[in-house]
Amino acid sequence: MDLRHRNNVNVVGNGSSTLVFSHGFGCNQAMWNYLLPHFVERFRVVLYDLVGAGLSDPAAYDKAKYATLDGYAADLNEIIDGFASGPVILVGHSVSAMIGTLADRAAPGRIAAHVMIGPSPSYIDADDYVGGFKPEDIQSLLDTLDSNYLGWSSTMAPVIMGAPGQPALSEELTNSFCRTEPEIAKQFARVTFLSDNRADIGGLTTPTLILQSTDDLIAPVCVGEYLHRVLPHSRYCLIDNVGHCPHMSAAAACAAAMDSFLMPWTAAHDQ
């Protein structure tokens, strides 16, 4: 199987350690473009699109395989084996933080550290756990996805291509940004927002940096704090940011926090 084609894998930068960037629900690897330049001098960087998103191979989407996050975790481990060298630090946004957790559990020791941006182990409120959502909220999201079915499929491309002021983004990446086959988008929304990975992540001993936005509807502060409590080797960093994508809207603050956390793996390279 051609992983490069399946997951639209791109490798950039140089370094003795590898950063693997894994995007979240809704977009593709282009969301890393604000953070990427900061790291390419010191790290080998592997970027990829989750199957079903971006420029991944549409034919690779297998409904049964991707009915749980384990299918994505298996892909991630294959990508790490295929493209990473040296210690691997997984930088996962949103649902990809959980995909990274499952990949770590499936192949312990392969991932040296996690950087989790806006992570949530479970979105639905349950007993004494506050995830921030009720089951009907997820149905409401599916309705919204349904409503934006036509708009996102064909009319988006010319608008995106005419995007002003972003010369850094290559055309092929922007073309597919946020565009997903509607049925895949809905299944991925269900898998993302109905997953409960609290049992998987609790007690994970891999060093982890949690980047928590101060104001994030999808992953509220209480969820970030919960993760900090259940991850024994975690560092918790609050980023002053409104929204779910601090790596885009507060890239500098994220980069600074990551620099500090990544010191052990950067030092090895500097020597």
Partner: protein
């Protein structure tokens, strides 16, 4: 064009035929027009400082976070995004959003234009629901077809299995009947031999029993062999030859008088006598039909055998004054293993007699019919096409 004077820009903004708003990058509303206020049921002052995304339904808010906000940052604009605004009183207003990111003197701003699309949305939802229904029905149809195919395959398999089992059973009957023939012939011959010597009355009676019983067993086996030949093999074989129909019938009736001394057998002839049929098989038919009449008929009255030859072929009828055959029995009368009442246990057979009668008639290009009525009794008639 340029000669037309535009109203004051503020009046244009505030009175526009769509909802307009300016927000900070994080969605905090800085300016809204009247239409925007109307759609959410809040004055500009009440809206000041609130975030645009907080006025949406929960699905819209998630969508804003996962799609809209990143898109605004990456490409600087979005078009035709359908969202639901929540009015203060709880109802929703469906809107299409166009937004653009622009540098203002005070910083980056998002300029939003929202068009009401509630009616269109209803129509689109109807289309979407129709599509979902069609897809669900298609799925259901496919599932039903799969189930049907599976049921058919199972039925087919069961049928093949049953057929194989039936064939095996019939073959076994054929083999056993064939193998029983020889020992029975030996018993019959031995009893005939013993009957020739000087015997006491008791011995003669016992030897008679042996002879009659083995003859009965031989008849049953002959029936079984014919049955298996009809079912397993190519059908009952007939060998037509020129014969005298009435004479053959008379001889058969004479023999049956010996076999059934308690019954009164009467033979009638109708029409000419010369035809071409299998004589042995005719005797078999008469034997089976008369045995049937003895078993189920009223022996206080005679059993009448009629041999008839006409332009349309030959026929043999056997009539008795027995009780009416029940309707339920009529439809299966000629099927194998069918028996009448069990009252005459001494004449019980395996229930193949009428089946064989019909097979023989069919082999002659004819058939057998029965009529049974209160008062007139029961009559079986086997018809044959004369063979040439």
């Amino acid at each position: 064009m340029t000669s037309d004077t535009l109203p004051d820009p503020l009046a244009l903004f505030d009175g526009a035929a769509c909802a307009l708003a300016v927000s900070a990058e994080d969605g905090t509303l800085l300016r809204v027009n009247q239409c925007f206020s109307d759609w959410v049921g809040m004055t500009a002052d009440e809206l000041h400082g609130r975030r645009f995304q907080d006025l949406l339904t929960m699905g819209g808010r998630i969508f804003h976070q996962t799609h809209l906000a990143p898109l605004m940052q990456v490409q600087g604009r979005v078009t035709e995004v359908k969202l639901d605004l929540r009015h203060r009183d709880g109802h929703t207003v469906t809107v299409l959003l166009n937004a653009i990111k622009r540098d203002h003197p005070d910083g980056v701003r998002h300029e939003l234009a929202l068009f009401g699309t509630t009616d269109r949305d209803k129509y689109e939802r109807e289309l979407l629901n129709a599509r979902k229904l069609a897809e669900a029905l298609l799925l259901e149809k496919t599932a039903a077809e799969t189930a049907l195919q599976q049921a058919q395959a199972e039925l087919n398999e069961a049928y093949i299995k049953a057929k194989r089992r039936a064939l095996f059973a019939e073959q076994m009957v054929a083999i056993v009947s064939h193998d029983l023939k020889n020992p029975l012939t030996a018993i019959k011959m031995a009893s005939d031999f013993l009957a020739r010597g000087e015997r006491t009355a008791k011995e003669t009676q016992l030897i008679g029993h042996i002879g009659q019983s083995s003859e009965r067993a031989q008849r049953m086996i002959a029936d079984l062999l014919d049955f298996t030949q009809a079912r397993v093999g190519v059908g009952i074989a007939v060998t037509p030859a020129a014969l005298d129909l009435h004479d053959v019938t008379r001889r058969a009736v004479d023999e049956l008088r010996v076999a059934f001394p308690r019954a009164t057998l009467v033979h009638h002839t109708v029409g000419p006598a010369d035809t071409c049929l299998d004589g042995d098989r005719l005797q078999q038919i008469i034997g089976n039909l008369v045995a049937n009449s003895v078993a189920y008929g009223d022996l206080q009255h005679p059993i009448t055998i009629t041999s008839r030859l006409g332009d349309d072929g030959a026929s043999l009828s056997v009539h008795n004054h027995g009780p009416v055959i029940a309707d339920a029995l009529m439809s299966v009368l000629f099927e194998p293993m069918t028996r009448g009442t069990d009252q005459h246990t001494d004449v019980r057979s395996v229930g193949l007699g009428l089946f064989i009668v019909r097979e023989i008639a069919k082999a002659h290009g004819g058939d057998v019919v029965v009529s049974s009525q209160v008062g007139s009794g029961t009559m079986f008639t086997a018809c044959f096409q004369a063979q040439h």
